[in-house]
Amino acid sequence: MLFAPAILAAHVVLWHAYRGEEERALEHVVKTWNQTHPDETVDAVAVPYDAYSQKLSAAIPRGNGPDLFIAAHERIGDWRASGLIQQVPESADDDGYLPETFTPLHDGGKLFALPLAFKSLALFYRRDQLAQPPDTTDELIAFARQKRGAGKYGFAYETADFFYHAAWLHGFGGKIFDDGIPRLDSPEAIRSVEFVLALDREHLVPGDATHVLIAQLFNEGNAAMTIAGPWFTGEIAPGVDFGVARLPIVSETGKRAAPLLSIESVFLAARAASSQAALRFAHFLTGADGARIRAIEGRQTVAARAVWDDPRVKDDPILGAFYRQLPDTIATPSVPAMALIWEPVQNALRKVLRGAATPAAALHDAQARIMASIHLLPTPVSPLPYAIALGVFCLVALIYLSRRAASRLGQARKQRAAYAYLAPAAISMAILVFVPFAVGASMSLYHHQAGRFTFIGLQNFISILSLREIPITDPLSFYFTLGVTILWTVANVTLHVILGVSLALLLRNPLLKLRGVYRVLLIIPWAVPNYITALIWKGMFHRQFGAINGLLSLFGIAPVSWFSHFATSFAANLATNVWLGFPFMMVVTLGALSRIPKELEEAAALDGASAWERLRHIILPLLRPALLPSVILGAVWTFNMFNIVFLVSGGEPDGATDILVSQAYRWAFVRGSRYGYAAAYAVLIFLVLVIWSALARRLSDKEAEA
């Protein structure tokens, strides 16, 4: 080892979020490469999908990133502008890629990635119900009419999801961007939504259908056809004889429905340590040798043309079907503005299917929202006045504090021991909590677009608070969301306390049989990580197959479409959060109850006080001070309880059940990385809570006096 040419050896780090067979195939390619290239070894690191993009944007600009990373092509524009990726030199080998998968990897005429595989939607059908898949929408509708029955469908897909709807949009001749400008309210787009609305009204497709439901319908033979991507094969139950075909031709236009195409690509990270070796490996991975392994072992629809001559790939019924769909796909636009499209259009689709708006009205509304969010560019201002204000503020604060300190120095000196006890916690909190907090808060004075931060003073706050852009009754308005958040917090904390205290009182009797068993069972929700809880409850609230509606039907109550109305959607979030939150209050109460001296109660009982009187006049007053800190903290946590709201209702309907943190998250990560705007939200959340805590302190002071 000592004599090895250390300078020549390169080590390439590759990040990916693959799982299962795709991951194993990738590892096989890496192993093959490493055996023949001992000087340029590659290390593949799997990262959870949920943390992937945050990890990339944190690590790469600081030189801690990988050399290569695998991701879909949609964010090229954004990443290029943010300086996360480097240009990849064009090479003679590039002819070996299918052009549909290669051209979209350019931005401004420059190449930024090499294509691994392409993913699009296609038509999955059950062979036991359909000998021949329909080739036009008229055939499809005719078949669906004939199959329609109680809980049975000829055709099922996620009608309210724009990712699926885009196939119809293109089939009707519509475009997402026309000359670089979003065009979601074109006559073609309106026709495509009317088409889906007709399917829904005729009950040819299930309403309110989620991914999970579709898989179930398909597996049980209650849906003969569905639109899905290659990932769907993993969800089809063993024994189901299925086929994959191209999406049908839209009979009205004669054009084939064209789904969005996502190209999984390997990117060369900015500041890659071994970029030359990394590029050589990237060519190997995307080229014929690497692609063959990925296609055969990882079952990927690879971008390397040569592999499609291989009968094992070409004649594969699934891979082959996606290959035939490829000419009729439209690559997902990779301009940063694409990020602004999804949410408004999705809301429009849901509104139409719910019957709350006509296709034309809903799409015009969505288009207006998209244009407003694109044109919301604040004007840059000079930071000088702000810097002066900050300086003056610091000076005044310093003088005030030093005066105060001087007058209290003697007292402080006497209590020197106190500072020694406090210091370790205070110092670590100052560094790890308050510094990041200050940096994060200062971002609220900037506007972020495409990787550049522009100082804009208080304009983010003004636009959030002024109501100029959004009326107060709109779920996107700050005040509406604030109202929902307060309602959410009050309802949760109240129910937590009531349930927690009641159960604790029931469990208090030491002679109660099975007391320990109950106690352990009732604590369980606290022990389950809350993201798991959220995903499970979301399933239980499903309209057609959820357990909750199943239970309601036992009492003769008609199924409720939980996430279509504010009240029920809010109730679903509330039920989930109460379920996971009451054990904490119960344990706190049990702890507090155990410290109430028995004699007090016994004395009262001797005096003839009833159980209720003892509870009211002895136990509850003694509990209150013990519970108060938990209630104050619980309220703060609930106010910022992101996971539940985001994962259970996801803000439905129309973002109405979103709370302030989930709005902030959407501004930062869903509506086109408006970090400054999100930071302003975060600061406002903080201010609201500070005001609340001041009120709570008054309350607790009063309590102390009483």
Binding site: R19, Y49, V435, R515, P529, I536, V636, I685
Partner: protein, 278 residues
């Protein structure tokens, strides 16, 4: 009359327990079901039972290393360290806030509360830069520091209110006997605070044990990931491997349940010695 009331109490508790258990039964069902789909039927009883999901999760390997074992060790190391660091720092801070009246006391109390109010959406990247500057990126020590500071404020509040409720006479007796404050704190206050220490320790442990976003962001090597990061790997952009996810969720939750079980007596019991143990 008493029997009726007792029966009523049991009815209420049984219903409450059933409501708590129902979603859990579902997770168990998905973990035991061979498919990776999401179970939608109302019955929480699995139709076909297999342990394959558990075997897959437990047996995952990464280049010759036993992934689950390594990550379990990481999770345990991080969580135990956070419990130790969090409880020690919180205890001493809470003691200062409970027993001394010093300039800055009110401000510190408020600062601890304020730290819980700033949403994490915008702090994760500044935190990343900070850990990098401290050279703690990709080190379990970095995670330990971050999680400890997350857990401290709650622990401080719990412990402070508990210390407040303890009579000062006992400490004063130690001081009169010539002992120091520190000895009074260690010998008198801490032993009396066992229930509060158990609650705060458990809270610290949970904070560290369940977190995955920061762990996935700050760690670069699968061998230094914690268990929830691996669990989250079963949740994808297009689809989730529900069977593996559920099996993983159960495996991740078992140590926590065990801890709750073991600490249960301390958690609530504490001063009610002599009563019948449940």
């Amino acid at each position: 009359m008493k029997a009726v009331r007792n029966a009523l109490v049991h009815v209420v508790l049984v219903i409450a327990s059933m409501i708590t258990l129902y979603p859990i039964a579902w997770v168990v069902k998905m973990a035991l079901t061979p498919s990776q789909g999401f179970s939608l039927s109302a019955s929480p009883i699995p139709e076909h039972v297999t342990l394959a999901n558990f075997a897959d999760v437990l047996g995952a390997r990464d280049g010759g290393h036993w992934l689950f074992g390594r990550q379990l060790a990481n999770s345990l190391a991080v969580s135990l360290a956070v419990t130790a660091v969090g409880v020690v720092l919180a205890c001493s801070a809470a003691y200062a806030l409970s027993r001394f009246r010093f300039p800055g006391r009110e401000t510190s109390l408020r600062a601890f509360l304020f730290s819980q109010m700033f949403p994490g959406v915008v702090t994760s990247i500044p935190l990343y830069v900070l850990l990098e500057k401290l050279g703690l990126l990709n080190h379990l020590a970095g995670l330990i520091l971050v999680y400890s500071t997350t857990a401290i404020p709650f622990c401080v509040f719990m412990l402070k209110s508990y210390f407040d409720s303890l009579p000062r006479e006992l400490e004063e007796a130690v001081l009169l006997d010539g002992g120091t404050r520190f000895i009074a704190f260690i010998r008198v206050v801490l032993p009396l605070s066992r229930p509060a220490l158990a609650v705060t320790g458990l809270f610290c442990f949970l904070t560290a044990w369940n977190e995955f976003i920061l762990a996935a962001t700050f760690m670069n090597d699968p061998l230094s990931f914690t268990l929830p990061v691996q669990l989250q790997r079963y949740v994808g952009d297009y689809s989730t491997e529900w069977g593996h996810f559920a099996a993983g969720a159960i495996l991740v939750s078992i140590p926590v349940m065990a801890l709750f079980f073991a600490l249960e007596k301390h958690l609530i019991g504490g001063l009610t010695q002599g009563s019948v143990k449940g």
